[in-house]
């Protein structure tokens, strides 16, 4: 099976190639330092190919500079700051594999084959499903997928931020979640995976509180939750909707477990405080507000999941619209 042959065209992959300053030149000293640091010669990459990979990656991301500053080429210092924030060795390997470098593929398989299979098994929690998932990804990475008459290699979307192994794991997870969603759309997601997208159906509530007060409470809850910052909403969603443990959340965010617990507790307190304040602002006494806070949750028609998902991230909305 032949690997993809020079399909790393930026126009094809969607990754801009050389969109920065057209006369941008890589700093020789920096290129030499990076070349010596990544040991790319051991798996067949030439110095010229390496520099071209760096230049393409740098210009595609404008060397990490703002869009407005792309009229002037990046200085050597800016280039150094940009490339030192990347995993250059992984980036060079990914690009070399996407260009069909046989020795690079051999190196990739030697290094990543077993970890990738283990990651797939861990994600699917099944030996068979895991190996299938890993093989499927290998096929994609090898460029078997063809679009518009050209083979596409997912490795081209790797830009060096984070490790290549982390990127591979994330791609595996994406494939698994997407496959799960496609195949099990009609049934609740498995509890074993901790995937619980839908709130359990609530029994028919028997309203004990006046409808007006409940309406006030629902509105206050919506406003209080929506006003939370993104990180706090992530804590709430991961902990209460996804059922993640504090340790899992802490590992994702790179903080201590106690930090997650403390901030989650503080978020809950602030939400409660804001709800009480909102109720009092609508003419309720403090005592009435406290009593209303003790209302049966089943009396409320508040879908926290829907509430959280309705407050979409503006950044990605903008990106999607663009």
């Amino acid at each position: 099976m032949a690997p993809t042959e020079s399909v790393a065209s930026a126009a094809v992959t969607g990754i801009p190639n050389g969109t920065g300053a057209p006369d941008c030149v890589l700093d020789p000293a920096l290129a030499d330092e990076l070349w010596r640091g990544c040991d790319a010669a051991s798996w067949g990459l030439t110095r010229e190919e390496f520099e071209q990979i760096l230049l393409d990656a740098g210009t595609a991301q404008n060397f990490g500079l703002a869009e407005a500053s792309n009229v002037t080429p990046a200085t050597a210092k800016q280039q150094a700051a940009f490339f030192r924030g990347l995993c250059v060795a992984d980036l060079a390997l990914a690009r070399a594999c996407s260009r069909g470098n046989e020795r690079a593929w051999e190196h990739f398989i030697a290094v990543y084959r077993q970890p990738l299979t283990r990651a797939a098994i861990a994600i699917t929690r099944s030996e068979t499903l895991g190996r299938d998932l890993a093989d499927q990804l290998y096929a994609e990475l090898y460029g078997l997928n063809v679009r518009d008459g050209q083979r596409r290699c997912p490795l081209l979307s790797y830009r060096g931020r984070g490790s290549l192994m982390g990127w591979l794991r994330t791609v595996l997870a994406q494939r698994h979640v997407d496959h799960y969603r496609r195949t099990r759309r009609e049934e609740p997601l498995t509890q074993s995976n901790g995937i619980d997208e839908f709130d359990p159906p609530a029994p028919d509530p028997l309203p004990q509180m006046p409808a007006r007060e409940l309406s006030l409470l629902e509105r206050a809850i919506e406003q209080a939750v929506s006003a939370r910052q993104a990180e706090e909403r992530y804590f709430l969603a991961a902990y209460y909707l996804d059922g993640r443990t504090l340790l899992e959340i802490a590992r994702v965010l790179g903080v201590h477990e106690a930090t997650v617990s403390r901030r989650l507790h503080r978020t809950e307190k602030e939400i409660r405080k804001q709800i009480l304040k909102d109720l009092e602002r609508h003419g309720m006494s403090r005592r009435q507000a406290d009593e209303l806070m003790g209302a049966d949750a089943r009396d409320l028609e508040v879908n926290l999941k829907k509430l959280l998902q309705n407050s979409q991230s503006e950044a990605f909305q903008e990106q999607a619209a663009s």
């Binding site: 982390g166 794991r169 993104a230 790179g254 990605f316 990106q319």
Partner: protein
Amino acid sequence: MSATSQHGFHPDAESLSAFSEQALQERERADVLAHLAVCARCRQVVALAREAADADAPAATAPTRKATEPNAWWKQWRLVWVPAAVAVAFAVTTISVYIEQADRHGSNIKVAEQHTTQGTVPSSTPAPTEQAEAVPPASPAPASPAHAAKHAQPAVAKPLPAPAPPVVTAQMSPEPGALAPEPMDQVEVTPEAPPLSHAEAQQAPPEVTAGAMRPAYSQPAAGAWEAKQKQVEQQRQAEVDTLRMRHFKAKAAPAVVPDANQSAPAGATESVTVTAAPPLETHPVALAEPALMLGIKSPGTATTPARPMLLPSGLAAVSIASGGHFLLAIDKAGALFLSEDRGVTWERIARQWTGRAVAVRQKARVHGASPAAPAAQNGTTGSSSADAGPAPSLTEFFELSNDENHTWVSTDGRTWTPK
């Protein structure tokens, strides 16, 4: 569609991966986090990738652990340092303790007998009279074997053929009916011979040693003396000097009656010989202690270092005298050094004498003594008050002798005047 998004609204795999690895910049991280807060799918992707990484981490480290198994912790070369460090620590501790003890011994200046008594114990003393010659006992610091052997001799009032220093002998022969607390009724001041050199002083047998005194006292008195001796051993030199002067002033001075019959030439070194009277035998402790204190605390003794003390000139000290916190020392070249901090720092005293200084001593003179002994000590001023006058007081001074037997005196160790 943005380059950073996949599937429409979701961040791409690299952004999620970089977010999980804390590799995103602050702004981009905030964007991804905001998306994760509302996107269950991406939260699942991140969580699954994180789980896979955590599951892969032990597998990745397992071979490493296996490879290190042959090198068990007890076989690692670093552990060699543990016993070595313990041994070094023990050695350092031992050496430091030894040095500290040596310094302590060195700081205790050994009070040595430079001179012997000259007619100390009167032969006319009645036989029943218990005679004790109290001299300052030797320092507890280990002396040279020869010196120690000489001190061990039960030499009681052994006269020297060589010129002996004058000895102030206080005979404990109270008058009949006198009370025990006033035991001294006689102080003999004998003229002092020319001072001996350090070597001669060492060769001279001690007049009376502590060991020689013990048989002269009853057992309780000896026990008291030993207790005092231990106390002196444990204290520093300054405390020794202070206690010595205090006891001397409190007990010895009021009881000292200078003997007018004895002439005291200038520069006489004092030693005190106490002769106990028969009544003392009935109150041995009460009587013995003042005599003992006189012997111990007598300031008129020459001192020699327990071991060679190097002075700032680089030469060893041949003669040392101490008084209070003052310390005077003469090196082999005849240079005089003064220390006001017990030997920590030294000051060289300008030469104010002729010849070569060979000895320095601490002396004391008695003021306000009985008129019966106007020239009480060393022939120094004997202008004393009457019996009913104020209690006698003691003034310390230093005396320096050169190689021509000339003497200079000083009260502060700095200014010297011919005697």
